[in-house]
């Protein structure tokens, strides 16, 4: 793998993939925009006016990106690619996903304590005592500060906190 590369896809390849995705999105957005109610006064823009301008820009720019990506692929040009995702990124995102799913049911404190501990491990925490203490104190402290100090209601779930 070349330095700074992705290991799997060049930037030109990514551009082509993104352009195709954005073209599909543009087509869907255009279809939705066309279905918006029209205004019956002559020469006055209705609710679909601005979205249709966006459609034109989106499709035009996506086509430009597609053409550039294909040209780069054919020429074998290797633009600088940003580094790939950090190690542990997918685990962190999965933890975030599960945390947000559990939050309405389990409540802020319990779900945050577990999430905090998982993130500490992912960020390189290796001391169980530190993880246990910090993962308990920080979320509980934030809960107390925001709920009781600033009167901001936080998700309480079935446990009530």
């Amino acid at each position: 793998m070349r330095p700074g590369g992705t290991g799997t896809m060049t930037m030109a390849g990514r551009n082509v993939a993104a352009a195709l995705g954005l073209l599909a999105f543009g087509a869907w957005y255009a279809w939705l925009s066309a279905g918006l109610p029209e205004r019956h006064m002559p020469n006055t823009p209705g609710p679909s006016f601005f979205p249709l301008i966006i459609v034109a820009l989106l499709i035009g720019l996506s086509l430009a990106l597609l053409i550039k990506g294909i040209a780069d692929l054919r020429a074998g040009r290797q633009a600088d690619s940003p580094a790939r995702l950090a190690p542990g990124a997918l685990s962190a995102l999965a933890a975030f996903f599960v945390y947000l799913g559990a939050l309405p049911y389990v409540g802020f404190v319990v779900s945050s304590v577990i999430f905090f501990a998982v993130l500490m491990v992912l960020y390189g925490g290796r001391k169980p005592l530190l993880i246990g203490v910090a993962a308990t104190l920080v979320p509980v402290g934030l809960f107390v500060i925001f709920r009781h100090g600033f009167q901001i209601v936080l998700p309480h779930g079935v446990l009530g906190f």
Binding site: G46, P47, F50, A135, I152
Partner: protein, 504 residues
């Protein structure tokens, strides 16, 4: 004297406001100093707190963080050769060589003092220019406002130096997002799919938290600089109080930096990094010993540091008077003010002149606290460069969830925040700048509203945008802004300092 000036001053010296400013400055120095943290992230983390504070305290807190974050970035640049913020990149050029030969205290003292000079010069410009500009802006009609917002959007070019197509696409995606919800003119629902949560639209701050904070949390999973073991933060660096001879020596570079920074701060999209590099370049040109630049001269520290702090005051001018953000941080500040029902723009000076002047004076206090806290507390502050990210990053993650939930007590906002986090990661994967999307989220609703009102009033005649002098002026400025961005990029041989970062 204008009674609003006095009322604004009185508001800014309330103990609560001063305390908030000082707290913001303290936090800003820390946030700016820590590589991997940005001023934008610092402000995002503080956002939930501002929901419960009164508007004066909120803005004082955020301004303190903004101003001090700029200065804090220079600490790690000087001590570690790692700029804490992109704006401090130029400072490292001479700051680190000074530090390497045992003059870190001298470099830090000059950096802090020059930051103060830059802040004060830009405060004076803000105080003198902003109210007059707001008065002129009151004359604007819908076509003028449309062209003005369009001019504000040309900031995009400044953040799209790697690929204009991707920068523009990022902005268009942002514009598509702001069309979700009620149509701003007729009030009919668009793209809501029958979901009541979508009717008010995607909240700007929800998108912002996800777009900025989540990619940063993921990036920091790499073994990196933040809190890395073995970092020598050089806490023994002698006195940081600048000597009189040094202050005399840097008076011209600091003044150059202040003027250049303030002026470039007013222009949309230029930002701290470019201002710092241009000031450094000018200071070198006027120096009697330009060959010494880069080897560790205090003039090379003073010019960029004065410039990047002056940018903050400059960027506040279009934000306060026209509602147009000069940089990503002021875009976030607009969002924070909107939470309190305060829309920055010319009407703010007319309807809430006391608050508008309060903001201006809080900016002054932010600079004063920045100077005092940085000089007095630097020995303590630099120890925080070793902050373990195992504690910091999970805390930020939890605060992001609190911030998005607390906006409207809605899980929908939390899920939207996470969704935008994934969008932000996808944009990084594509090397697509996120700032144009952010600016489109701020300016998009106004752009559509003014465009449609102008066209309705003119019965669809597009020439209305070219017959109004103000509108024509802004359209010409928009073209100039685009050309300037291209020229700057070409002049620097594609090595434009990274302005695509989320702030600072």
């Amino acid at each position: 004297m204008n009674p609003d000036v006095l009322a604004g001053f009185q508001q800014s010296i309330l103990p609560s406001s001063l305390l908030a400013t000082a707290a913001g400055a303290f936090l800003g120095l820390i946030v700016g100093m820590i590589p991997g943290m940005t001023i934008s992230t610092g402000i995002i983390v503080l956002l939930p707190l501002t929901f419960v504070l009164d508007p004066n305290m909120s803005i004082a807190l955020l301004l303190g963080l903004y101003v001090a974050g700029m200065t804090g970035g220079s600490f790690s640049a000087i001590l570690l050769n790692i700029p804490g913020t992109p704006s401090a990149s130029a400072t490292a050029t001479d700051g680190y060589p000074l530090s390497a030969r045992g003059e870190a205290g001298r470099a830090l003292g000059i950096s802090i003092s020059a930051s103060f000079v830059g802040g004060i010069v830009s405060f004076l410009c803000l105080f003198l220019i902003a109210p007059n500009l707001a008065e002129i802006a009151l004359e604007f009609r819908a076509p003028d406002l449309f062209s003005l917002v369009l001019f504000g959007l040309t900031i995009i070019c400044g953040f799209a130096s790697r690929s204009l197509i991707k920068g523009l696409l990022s902005a268009v995606i942002g514009l598509a997002i702001v069309t979700v919800g009620q149509d701003p003119v007729m009030g009919s629902a668009r793209f809501t799919f029958g979901q009541a949560e979508l009717l008010p639209g995607i909240h700007f701050l929800t998108a912002l938290i996800g777009l900025f904070a989540i990619p940063q949390l993921i990036d920091n999973l790499r073994p990196g600089l933040l809190g890395a073991p073995g970092q020598d933060t050089g806490s023994r660096f002698g006195s940081v109080l600048p000597r009189l001879a040094d202050l005399v020596c840097v008076r011209l570079p600091a003044l150059i930096g202040s003027v250049v920074g303030t002026f470039l701060g007013i222009l949309p999209g230029v930002g701290g990094p470019i201002a710092a590099f241009i000031s450094y370049d000018y200071a070198k040109k006027v120096s009697k010993t330009p060959e010494k630049f880069g080897t560790g001269v205090i003039e090379g520290v003073a010019a960029p540091e004065a410039a990047n702090n002056a940018v903050a005051g400059g960027a506040l001018i279009p934000m306060m008077t026209l509602g147009i953000p000069g940089d990503p941080v002021t875009a976030i500040l607009i969002g924070a003010l909107l939470i309190h029902g305060l829309a920055p723009g010319p009407l703010l000076f007319m309807e809430r002149g006391d608050f508008a002047y309060g903001v201006i004076f809080s900016y002054l206090w932010a600079n004063i606290f920045n100077l005092a806290i940085a000089l007095a507390g630097i020995r303590f502050l630099v120890k925080l460069l070793a902050t373990p990210k195992v504690l910091l990053m999970p805390t930020i993650a939890i605060l992001c969830v609190i911030g998005s939930y607390a906006l409207r007590n809605s899980f929908f906002d939390v899920y939207a925040m996470f969704f935008f986090g994934l969008v932000g990661l996808a944009m990084r994967w594509l090397d697509m700048p996120v700032v144009p999307l952010l600016l489109a989220l701020v300016l998009g609703p106004q752009l559509e509203e003014h465009l449609r009102i102008a066209l309705t009033a003119s019965h669809g005649q597009i020439d209305v945008f070219f017959t109004s002098p103000f509108s024509l002026l802004f359209l010409v400025l928009s073209v100039c802004s685009v050309v300037w961005s291209f020229w700057l990029d070409r002049r620097q041989g594609g090595k434009t300092p990274d302005t695509a970062g989320p702030g600072g």
